[in-house]
């Protein structure tokens, strides 16, 4: 399984962090195309959550619509959503789907141990105007993902 990209969105859809890990680069994409794609991803996550929520049975509770993964023939989008509405979305391909629960645990770890500790608790943190580059979030994230057996 190979990780292809990661996006972190806030509750309003603004991209807080995004990174491509593509080993085989797709067609060269300019910044505008990439930002369009990110809006598509957020819009899809937002609308699908509502759709799935209306289809889920009452026994699932209020959070029955919380999306874990969306699979297409090309790849899978893994999603982790916090109560504050922040979404971490990770694109992988479809080889070795058994790693799904460990990917979810990894996304949870990325939120609790990396995002909260390094970004939110940074003394330079300003809500609504987060400066990721002043933290070592990206390096720690790369190191953490690189240590996963399913990241190649």
């Amino acid at each position: 399984m190979a990780v292809h990209s990661i996006h972190i969105f806030d509750r309003r859809g603004k991209t807080l962090f995004t990174k491509r890990y593509a080993k085989s680069q797709g067609p060269a994409e300019d910044a505008e195309q990439l930002s369009e794609q990110r809006k598509l991803v957020f819009g899809m996550l937002f609308s699908l959550r509502e759709l799935v929520g209306s289809l889920a049975p009452e026994s699932a509770g209020k959070n029955g619509g919380a999306l874990h993964s969306i699979k297409t023939a090309a790849g899978t989008l893994h999603n982790y959503e916090t109560i504050s509405g922040m979404r971490i979305a990770l694109y992988t391909d479809n080889n070795n789907i058994d790693a799904s629960p460990s990917i979810r645990t990894a996304l949870k770890y990325i939120y609790t141990e990396l995002w909260v500790e390094l970004v939110l608790r940074s003394p330079l943190y300003i809500p609504n105007n987060i400066d990721i580059r002043s933290t070592n979030f990206e390096q720690k994230l790369d190191a953490y993902l690189g240590s996963m057996p399913w990241f190649r």
Binding site: A56, S59, A60, G64, K71, A73
Partner: protein, 157 residues
Amino acid sequence: FTLVVNTMAFLHLFIVNKSGGLIHHRALNPKAPKIGINEWLRIGSTFHSLHAIAAEASPLRMEGNKNPYGADDGIQEIQAAGLILRCFQTRTGVKFVITAEPGTKDCAYVLREIYVLYADCALKDPFYELEMPIRCELFTQGVDALIERVEKSSKQR
């Protein structure tokens, strides 16, 4: 953190034609939430669009955007906290979608069997118009029998 008990039950079946219109919808289990017809139509067309958007939004692309069955790529499976949704799109653009509780296996198999039932009961019905709502008694009975057979065999496993 909610503990989800992995029970197995199919909840809803719906079928969307190639323009996004809903041609069939039904509940397969009393546990399935009651959904009014207007909401069904909305769900059908929203799913139709999101199915295609998922392929667009992905950084990876299949050859010619076609999946191995020759149909346009799109959502195959959604795993959520309270349900699994599985979609099978045919080469002609008809989407068969089934929802089930998180512990349910065999969703892909059930969808392919429903496709066979669609071909046998709806398409071979001389009075059935393509892309129109499916109102074939044989199809409904066939789906009932299929679901009953699958649920019984999974209980025995």
